[in-house]
């Protein structure tokens, strides 16, 4: 378990051919780990008939909306939270 609650992280900005659950709108963006959810099977391999092992650590990561995009209406404090696997996160 590389990260803990409160850690600043950046989502990897890499192209990934094939099934993955990291939405493009957070790739390359900076966030904060809010919670460590523990280990889950990896959907990226399980989607192709493998067993999804070894399990990967999943994190609840918050992003300031200001960091994600200029949007139509928002408060400065608005956030979006996304569940992201460890292999998509880098220390910031």
């Amino acid at each position: 378990m590389t990260f803990g609650a409160g850690d600043r992280v950046r989502v990897s900005d890499r192209a990934h051919e094939g099934h993955h659950r990291t939405p493009s709108y957070v790739k390359g963006k900076r966030g904060r780990v809010e919670r460590v959810f523990g280990r889950f099977t990896n959907p990226e391999t399980r989607a192709y008939g493998a067993d999804g092992l070894p399990e990967q650590v999943l994190y609840h990561v918050s992003f300031a909306q200001d960091e994600l995009w200029p949007s139509v209406r928002r408060n400065g404090s608005d956030t979006a939270c996304v569940d992201i696997f460890e292999h998509w996160l880098e220390a910031e």
């Binding site: 939405p23 709108y25 994600l68 995009w69 928002r74 408060n75 956030t79 939270c81 569940d83």
Partner: protein, 213 residues
């Protein structure tokens, strides 16, 4: 016949309607079932049972969790720590997800749940998701224009409230614990549960107001 707006995220099906009013997918689904049953891969009774389960689900179980949290502060703490375990306390099935999280709306934070990648939703506690939750416009705008979406749903928030959008990208399922309505102090748990709407547990609405005394 009304004009169809062919916006690029228009997601009404365009399949031809057959003479008995069903889309071609209907016959396809039935044929798939036939093939799978013939091959001995699925049993018809398992399919029926699954349908029965699906249609029996409603937001009532989610509402029970919320109402209990409103009247019992210790239960609320447990619900916010581990909603799956809290549901088990009330003998409720919170579904196959190993982690279910209840998030509390407060004076300063309002939560909204979406699945931008598909349509993940706490079905065991809320029943099947509404069409709009699965729609392309909701999936795209919930995360980038939550205030706009909430305005469309008629929900007004104070200017200084943080809107926190939760995108269900993994196996964790989210349930919003909405704020207890004003004027509901005298109500019992069952009456409170009847105020808790599905949309308030998704985060696009507030619970219903209590009926005037």
């Amino acid at each position: 016949m009304s004009d169809h707006d062919h916006d690029h995220d228009h997601d009404h099906p365009h399949e031809p309607i057959t003479s008995d009013g069903e889309p071609p997918a209907a016959a396809r689904a039935r044929a798939l079932e036939e093939l799978l049953v013939e091959k001995g891969l699925v049993r018809r009774e398992d399919v029926r049972r699954s349908i029965d389960r699906l249609v029996s689900r409603s937001p009532a179980d989610g509402a029970r969790l919320v109402a209990r949290a409103w009247v019992d502060p210790e239960f609320k703490k447990r619900l916010l720590a581990d909603a799956r375990a809290a549901a088990q306390e009330l003998a409720l099935d919170s579904g196959p997800s190993p982690v279910v999280v209840a998030v509390e709306n407060t004076e300063t934070v309002h939560h909204m749940v979406v699945c931008t990648l598909c349509s993940c939703y706490p079905r065991a506690l809320l029943g099947p998701p509404p069409d709009w939750y699965k729609s392309l416009p909701y999936r795209s705008r919930a995360v980038s224009d939550p205030h706009g979406v909430l305005e469309e749903f008629g929900l007004e928030l104070d200017d200084d409230v943080e809107v926190r959008v939760l995108d269900s990208t993994a196996d964790v399922r989210y349930l919003v614990l909405p704020r207890r309505p004003e004027g509901s102090e005298g109500l019992g748990e069952e009456e409170l549960a009847s105020l808790v709407t599905r949309d308030s547990m998704i985060g696009v609405a507030q619970p219903a107001a209590p009926a005037p005394a």
